[in-house]
Symmetry: D2
Subunit: 343 residues, 4 copies
């Protein structure tokens, strides 16, 4: 077992900063040795803030540094697959933000490189580490609700991203629902075999003009018989809505939203509380730290990572199937989606 | 305007008794003059309990009584259509328990008879009169949530009915989901155009052997673009689960369950409360009274009834479409279901 | 055991009507034979509504009727003691609205008459029969919270009564807090030994001018060591606030308020629900029926009544002690209050 | 305005570590230059963990360091007053954990030294910075509940401290209720004039043998007429119970507890959730950081500190008055408590 994990960070954007802070303050066993960003100033600023010894504009400076054991890939999605492949070839363990790619072919190439190199790869499905969803997961695993039968996921953002983002993100199913696809697999512990999508544009016609939808329900049929639904919208007027419910033979478990405070106000109009925590940086703060702690632990102790390459691939297949279902107005089996047959 | 509505009751079973009590105690403007039941002793017992002047084993005694203005049809489902037709021909206003029939042909005959006679017909979708669902309905109508986009109905019974009942009930979609189909139309105020069903047997293999399912999710596509899901199970271990959520452009409205008390207990194990009200006789008590009050008011004041013949027919079409979708494993448009093409 | 309890009602006002309805509709074993009210028209109207054979302006017509087994005394408070004494002398069992009198001397005379006659007397502390408080009571009795240590009662009305009422009611401690004094004894199952009051006028200066307070906290010291507080206000802007919390060695049990519906609305401003049920006729509907059912049962089966003469007297002593504490600005032991030493 | 605040930490125990972490990770404008602890090894360990340049066993090394602008006094309570005086004399701004002393004479000496030196002093009443209580505070200040009339504080610990601690802590009113006394003043924004205490021993007879109580209710009368109650227990079986309710002329505001997750589990037994966050290190994490951020900001910007010397003194007076009330079994005015007349 290694004592300390030396880490290089690729990408000094928003999520890169979150992970740098976690490494600096909360993981004594990890040491951030270098940060790379195509924007050299951003890399330098991050290095200054967190006392990182080296800042560079070239990710390969990180990959070629023999002192570095593992890399965090926090750059743009279009670079994930390539950087993963190169990092694997350089013998680095990898934590990569989701998704590895929108294309199954690229994902498969990246996973093959990881496999060949024998390095560890963990993908950033942070919500698995959230206390609420973890508690639901544990209730199911412990048998507190018996055999699961029905799953309902509500996942609504407070506001849509810019149209420009939607045009390159792969669409709602791949940039937003992908978290819910992962959550569905995580909670139920089985693979989805078939999906059926109904969706439309209710938030912004510009999203429709960009070829995407902003409101959708996706029905999931799992291999173990569980039936699930995912309820998505790009904009909830009351903020960030992140709930699940799982119903089983012995009971049900559900989560409420998280709030900035637990105060209740009663007056002549209503009994009320403030709105839920507004977006993922506030709502999922702890989960971003927890996933990294888990990654560092898995590498140092050479134990399995909690979110695998298979976990990276399956939600992309589900997203492609959901889009195909919407397009063809029929249930689509995941087996219909192959690496060489994407939309 | 009539001063008093003279009523005859056909069917002295469980729901007949509930309506008799409402008429006796809570509607001064209504007078129950006669009760008929094929079981003469049951009719007599009810007459004794509520001081009803006449008890008979023959429903036609009620229909032919010129003093009677309106009849409540609370007999077995297989008699609803026939009794409705005869009551209409006798010029009586009609309150009929749901469904009028499992067959669209029979329903259409009954509705035609009602139309021809010019009498009023109200169907017993009592949940529309429940305070929780009424509040959700009103929130939508008042614009409190803007334009509705997504609907989710959870409707789970505490325990399945006897297999013998399932064999004649038309199956879960017609005996249980029918209430949810009606609720969906009531809340959204639009017709459903297409349904898609996933379902299975998780509660009792005997239900599967009887040709039915006991666990289902049905996706609804409304004419106004709203997407809905209905989540059903014949048995929830924690009791009767009756909730809805409607999400719109300006907000969301949802209902919790109703409980026998509002006490919360905290100890070394958990923070908890007692289980929800267990079944429809406790949960929906007030709605049974409210629907009858509304019927009596509509007849006396010659105003439209709040649940019409059209409302009686549409959920049956939805149930037939849901079954067809399950059978054919594809989305089914309601326009595919016609009176001469039933399963 | 008697088969049927023949009852006479004295007082055709608001609460008299509530009890008449309960007897008519919900207690088959009781028969209301006569109603008396000094306002003969009111008596006749009630008799017509509930098909009561006899209406009279003279309460003694009821007391002298040999067919009548029990009387409900629902007349003005100033008549309760006298009517109770006469009813006892006439051998009638008695259900009397609270309080029997504001004066301990009068109460003691009434209780002595009841004792001498050997009839049953139940006093109308209806809240003991409310599902929420009953559940708290049962949690304590069953040991679910261990040994009780702390009690907190919140009891706030939606609006103050007319000043004219306050001038004759005995003041807030005797017309409003009296219910909470009873609740404290009911829940803890022990007597209070000492009270300490802080109070003021925050709602209406007119109440202060009438010599009363409208906002108060009363601390209770029970014989078994439990410490309690009662938190009262004549006006809560959000409606009727009726909650308790009991904390014990193994846990705590508390009640929330009751609401007209269980709907929750979320929008850009807040997550909220409608206001609680507004006043006692809506909030405590079921408890009024339940107390009467219990009275009829106790008389017919000759079992102890659930709210006794002692229960009628103790809260009045507490109210007098609370007033004395406020006046003398010191803790007052209940033993200081005697029938011949009232304010 | 200074750019950076150079800080020395006195006391490397539990709360010292919490503050060191906050300074290291969350306040870029602060720099921790030195740590002192009578246990030199503890000081060194903290210095190593947070890269603090200097560790020493002698607090005067910190006070005499001219580079240091401000000190955090996190040592034992019995040293607070002396260290505060010396720090003030050395011209350092001071953040001191509560209480400064149990003796008013000592507190007054310390406050006089601070006043004479013209340095800032903030006292560690961290709960003022908790999101729940802050929201209650703000609701009152913004007028959301109108004029406050009634206050109820529930403050129960999960388990009592060791008897050895109780023997030197000044007793429950000074080691535990002191937070609630501060909360009462913070929320209501007025001084308390009189207190009345009822208390006993229900948790552990050993606490009684040590001369203290473990269960208490303290009634507060504020100068502005508000009436308050504080409900304390050394042990709540269900964990850490920290709630308040303030009732006013236009409404009420209350807080629920904080929980480790928002999951709800329903099964055949109950509808329940996990226990609240268990103790102050988990429950009040954020408030410890927020109070320090506020202190650093106040010193750097030369604005008033949010918790003053007066705020340090008043709760001690209240605690002494509460003890006197318990001892003398009567309401005690705070004006009865003077620096030269303590128990």
């Amino acid at each position: 077992m290694m004592d300390t994990l030396n880490i290089g960070l690729i990408g000094a954007g928003r999520i890169g900063k979150v992970h740098a802070a976690t490494l600096a303050y909360r993981i004594p066993a990890a040491k951030l040795l270098a940060v790379a960003d195509i924007d050299a100033a951003a890399a330098q600023q991050l290095a200054d803030q967190f006392k990182i010894p080296r800042a560079t504009a070239h990710y390969r400076d990180v990959l070629s540094d023999p002192a570095i054991d593992a890399v965090l890939i926090c750059s743009g999605t279009d670079t994930h697959a390539r950087f993963t492949i190169e990092a694997a070839q350089a013998g680095k363990h990898i934590f990569c933000e989701k998704p590895i790619a929108h294309s199954l072919a690229e994902i498969d190439q990246a996973l093959a490189a990881v496999h060949k190199a024998g390095v560890k790869l963990q993908v950033g499905f942070n919500r698995r580490f959230d206390a609420n969803f973890r508690r639901v997961h544990d209730a199911i695993r412990r048998g507190e609700i018996g055999q699961p039968a029905l799953l309902h996921i509500v996942s609504r953002d407070p506001a849509p991203p810019p149209i420009a983002y939607i045009q390159v993100s792969g669409g709602m199913f791949l940039d937003m629902t992908i978290h819910d696809f992962d959550m569905a697999r995580f909670l139920i512990g089985a693979e989805v075999e078939e999906v059926y999508t109904q969706a439309g544009v209710t938030v912004d016609p510009g999203i429709g003009a960009a070829g995407d939808v902003d409101t959708a329900v996706i029905m999931l049929k799992f291999a173990n018989g569980v039936i699930g639904t995912i309820d998505n919208c790009r904009r909830a007027s009351y903020g960030y809505d992140q709930r699940v419910e799982v119903f089983g033979s012995l009971g049900a478990v559900s989560t409420m939203n998280n709030y900035p405070n637990a105060a209740v106000l009663s007056d002549g109009a209503s009994v009320r509380r403030d709105l839920p925590l507004n977006f993922f940086m506030e709502r999922y703060t702890e989960s971003f730290a927890a996933e990294l702690i888990a990654f560092v632990h898995a590498v140092l102790h050479d134990t399995p990572v909690p979110v695998t390459g298979r976990d990276a691939r399956a939600p992309v297949v589900m997203g492609l199937a959901a889009a195909k279902s919407l397009h063809e107005r029929r249930p689509v089996r995941l087996s219909e989606i192959a690496a060489d047959d994407e939309r």
